[in-house]
Symmetry: D3
Subunit: 61 residues, 6 copies
Amino acid sequence: MPYVNIRIAGSLSREQKAKIAAEITDTLERIAYKPKSYTHITFDELPDENWAIAGQLLDEE
Amino acid sequence: MPYVNIRIAGSLSREQKAKIAAEITDTLERIAYKPKSYTHITFDELPDENWAIAGQLLDEE
Amino acid sequence: MPYVNIRIAGSLSREQKAKIAAEITDTLERIAYKPKSYTHITFDELPDENWAIAGQLLDEE
Amino acid sequence: MPYVNIRIAGSLSREQKAKIAAEITDTLERIAYKPKSYTHITFDELPDENWAIAGQLLDEE
Amino acid sequence: MPYVNIRIAGSLSREQKAKIAAEITDTLERIAYKPKSYTHITFDELPDENWAIAGQLLDEE
Amino acid sequence: MPYVNIRIAGSLSREQKAKIAAEITDTLERIAYKPKSYTHITFDELPDENWAIAGQLLDEE
């Protein structure tokens, strides 16, 4: 712990995921004093038709 | 917010997801007074072998 | 299953939760053909200072 | 309920998932007195590049 | 990882949580070959009025 | 979306949560091109006895 779950519609490149994981791990070390090795981060990339905002699936927009 | 996560075994058609999202968003507006634009809904469709009830995977039933 | 998790900032009255649960269960029966007894719904009510939108905790707004 | 969500990087065989579900359901019956039929267990198998520990994606290791 | 989230209505004693955590960690080591130190387990204990089955809050039953 | 859930054992001060939310929202804007207003972040602060690592509750350590 901490355990961080990031959910997005669409996908991220491997490079984007690597950078995001590095930055969030750094944020939690500096601000919450969590050693880097404690932080787990997971990415859930959902199809646009599996995410709705305001009652509409995102692939409608 | 609200953030609503719907998890099912098996899959739903795009049409089913659209209707479910529209109805739940409406429910939260009428009953919880959440403006429609605030509500996010995600669908997680799991393979039957990734869901167990009573200690048995659903593809055994 | 289905398993539905509803997360909001702030709280709902017992009556609101009862109505929301009844309506969503009904929605999933009519549209996704899930028998009512299959549907589990959970509510997570978070303090405003535990939810951020646009980088700001909700109790700042 | 209970609802148990197991998230791993990589994948499990069907046989592994069946055994894990059976054992955890048994654990919750013996220790928490939850009838077996109440327990739902889901498995989320994530690609290695979607899980980071210590700021590094697992496919880097 | 693995990351295991156990959600129940009502509460568990500290002793029950300790035993459940020990057994599930053991299960994942024997069956999924995950070293014990990798396994994180969290418990979410919800009020009965925050869990519905079949469209009814559990405190109605 | 994105929707980010941060789970920790113990608690964070309001100031820590504000800074973490601001930084992660910034990270997702710079790296994943998500407008700040899209990002929702939630914090779940769990009691130490509700989190286990290596089969031991954290309040044992």
